[in-house]
Symmetry: C2
Subunit: 251 residues, 2 copies
């Protein structure tokens, strides 16, 4: 964690120092269990652990972003068998995060509304891509998913940073994640998957245009030449079908 | 191929019609051969087929880009066993292509030189990431590769469009691709791989900032949560080591 972060630059030659953190959160002592097998309280603890680590890492102002994610199953990139999540703290805001922040701001400037709040309204009213709804969250397959069964967990409360979640909402998130992952397991016969927390950068106090959420990507298709060359994704499964499968997966 | 292409828009709501083309180029009648097994003339024919198809597809001005690529091996996304390449013509310039064009222009504006011409000069002078050099091409592992053994084939002649290649250079490209793919096969025991042609958009006459090239990506690592969330790639293999392996792979 040595070195100095240069914040200014001409854009082409911005330098960053090689500081950061990589932490593994072990979700249960049970070597055979998966995250969808464990009791709700353990999933709640996972989100508390994330929050605690973010609040601690944030104190180091050289760190600009904490990426929180899970790789489940070998073909989704899991290199350890024992169920775990990870966080990687970076001295820079990642490219994909910047793109999403910019996209959200562009929409906000145009519509004077948050794009994620609009997604919630649309998914609740159309009801065709909705997986489940609770007091605090909406789970839906997005309108233009990159992958079959791509599923987003969006908090109803418009907040940019996931670590500001209340205790009650954190408890609800655990229940929502458990239900969603169990539906994915049931509908797709326990597939490999990734989830990624999408949240605002560490050193921003609050971003009025952004709305944190979690994206779950079951690993069912392969990224190949077309995707590498274009940045576009070929997805053979309409989100309405994915959502129906997930809704109908009896738990 | 019906429908109308809207070229103007406010950026947020640009519409495109669902036109395009997807073509498969079968590289040999031999069901068991791979592209690195076939004689040089067949690889030359592949590039002629690409050129002929681009010149034909270009006549339809609703088509904005032709993406030419190959998926070799199941885990690189090949869905047909018989060796083949593909081209997909699109009514829009893909995101990744736009990013690369913008990056090249930004560098050109800053340095008053082409970034790919600079890469050629640097790789030839440093000689640490060079795989091979011919009259017409430089093959090198890039300075900041996303993947182990990522390898670029760059023409020495500064041209934005691959279809402007001369007959002599096309012949040389076949030899260079054959040698490079055979080295990849030898060094990595015939791994799955993708290659993608990076070339300028169809309806641009010539782009002074851009320089076409081919990127070869052996499929050795998995894209997981960190990559999806950040757009950054974790690569455990320095390009200097990859290049040395490929240089030393006796053919």
């Amino acid at each position: 964690m040595e070195g100095e972060l240069q914040r200014e630059g001409d854009g082409l030659y911005d330098k960053m120092s090689g500081i950061g953190a990589h932490e593994v959160i072990i979700e249960t002592p049970d070597h055979m269990a998966t995250l969808s097998d464990v009791e709700e309280k353990r999933i709640e603890d996972l989100f508390w652990a994330f929050r605690d680590r973010v609040l601690d890492l944030k104190k180091d102002d050289r760190l600009r972003y904490v990426l929180f994610f899970k790789n489940h199953g070998e073909s989704a990139g899991a290199s350890l068998e024992h169920t775990h999540s990870q966080l990687i703290a970076l001295p820079v805001v990642p490219k994909r995060v910047l793109e999403e922040l910019e996209g959200a701001k562009k929409y906000f400037d145009y519509k004077e509304r948050c794009v994620y709040c609009d997604i919630i309204r649309q998914e609740l009213s159309s009801n065709t891509r909705l997986v489940l709804e609770t007091d605090h969250f909406v789970v839906a397959c997005p309108y233009a998913p990159r992958f079959p069964f791509e599923t987003w967990v969006i908090p109803k409360l418009h907040q940019s940073h996931a670590e500001t979640l209340t205790a009650q909402a954190t408890q609800n998130l655990a229940s929502v994640m458990r239900s969603t992952l169990r539906r994915v397991d049931k509908a797709l016969e326990r597939p490999p998957y990734n989830f990624v927390m999408h949240t605002a950068p560490l050193q921003e106090s609050s971003n009025p245009h952004y709305h944190w959420h979690i994206e779950i990507i079951p690993k069912l298709t392969r990224v190949a030449g077309f995707e590498w060359g274009s940045g576009f994704y070929i997805n053979p499964t309409p989100p309405e079908e994915s959502a129906k499968f997930l809704r109908d997966a009896a738990l």
